[in-house]
Assembly symmetry: C2
Homo-oligomer: 244 residues x 2
Amino acid sequence: MDPDSTASDSTASDSTASDTTAPDPAGPDTAAGPERLRSDARHNRARILEAAREAFAARGLDVPMAAVARRAGVGVATLYRRFPTRESLVTEVFADRLADCVGVVDEALADPDPWRGFRTVIEKVCAMQVADRGFTAAFLTEFPGAVDFERERMRAERGFAALTRRAQEAGYLRADFARTDLTLVMKANDGVVAESSEAAAAASRRLVAYFLQAFRSDHTTSAPDLPPPAPIGLYRFDLLTEGR
Amino acid sequence: MDPDSTASDSTASDSTASDTTAPDPAGPDTAAGPERLRSDARHNRARILEAAREAFAARGLDVPMAAVARRAGVGVATLYRRFPTRESLVTEVFADRLADCVGVVDEALADPDPWRGFRTVIEKVCAMQVADRGFTAAFLTEFPGAVDFERERMRAERGFAALTRRAQEAGYLRADFARTDLTLVMKANDGVVAESSEAAAAASRRLVAYFLQAFRSDHTTSAPDLPPPAPIGLYRFDLLTEGR
DNA sequence: CCGAAAACGGAAGGACCCGTCCACTTCTGG
DNA sequence: CCAGAAGTGGACGGGTCCTTCCGTTTTCGG
């Protein structure tokens, strides 16, 4: 049925073992650094990232590589040399956005009001989804190769978990709210926002309001049972482009 | 050019209008019916519909035409002759599913309990989304060409509106629930279900429970304001395949 | 200033998918 | 039974996108 079998990319392991070419004198454990780039190359790299950011935000992660290249004013080869895989480009582009998330969470934790902190995170994350069509997929996808990306996301998740716990202990958030419910919210909001438009923003706000209404637990009396949390899996990266 | 063209391809074998098994010798031009199909052609048509139903359910509306043809055991030409456009195939395949929807709504209206009726529709529709990956897109897409498809959907929507009103008047459903909120729910659920999996079904149930919690209005005391309903547009058919 | 290494752009080779065309096959009615 | 119309399948031209390859241009240390 499916003869194609995209297996291929087993080569993806760039950093495997002995990388002969780079003597790596200073020993920057951060690795994969864009160091020692020729000036024009560095310039182009920045242009590519900028173009990709715009393109992903406007049209989602499935933008043709050639479109990114054109937008950046470079040839496709340049793009591929700098970012051998779409994944590498995506993780690089969304690193900042992810940092923003962590910032949002930290800020919320600093808020003395547990519920307002919780609510703010939900609202802001959903707003980011509206503002950036690629954000959801990037955030909800597992990138086994991008170590620091994964670490950063985990940090955001952990912070949100703390936020959740605090709101629950204060009695504002229903006790059966699960950590995976954030994923639930994000996927739901993604569905609403998918067709970007002005109306989408309004719809998203309404959705969020409904969610918050459901999450809130001060009307404790009547909250009925909820189906089990059922951990929602993250996307696998290859799924993002496979269904086409 | 071509004012109505393919308008009625109904051929719905049984129910359509006054099913005149007779070749309708009087005025055949009005009918444009696909009757008079050779036996093998009719057989193939059925196989195609069956294959398309399966394919759409399993992988969404973006299945390659060739895949449907292969699955049906026919050549692409046969598929294209019977269904000149993907749209015609989709509307034909989902005509039944749409009828099911109307049935669900009617059944719910027959339920003496207004809230249970309302709730049941939400639950069943979302369950249909889980069971059929193509359902959401088909239901939420505007098919200007498929008159009876549109009519049927409108009937379902009208029924749901009645259901909504009834539940609101009985005081079970919050007064600011808008008709377009059904679309909101469907899109949100679609987002959750998009990555079909076992977990998706559970996630969908949880989502629905949250929604119902938010919609319910017997804890009237504390329902905060909601952002405006903001009519969520349907998909345009060309959008379904354009973003690729 | 100069030459080698690095970087560049575009072309080219695959892989899909769409929708049409045409030579061949299969019904059907007399 | 048989001729011809209805029906069929697969090949084909036209697109889009991915990824690599290669001749040319640019940078930069000496």
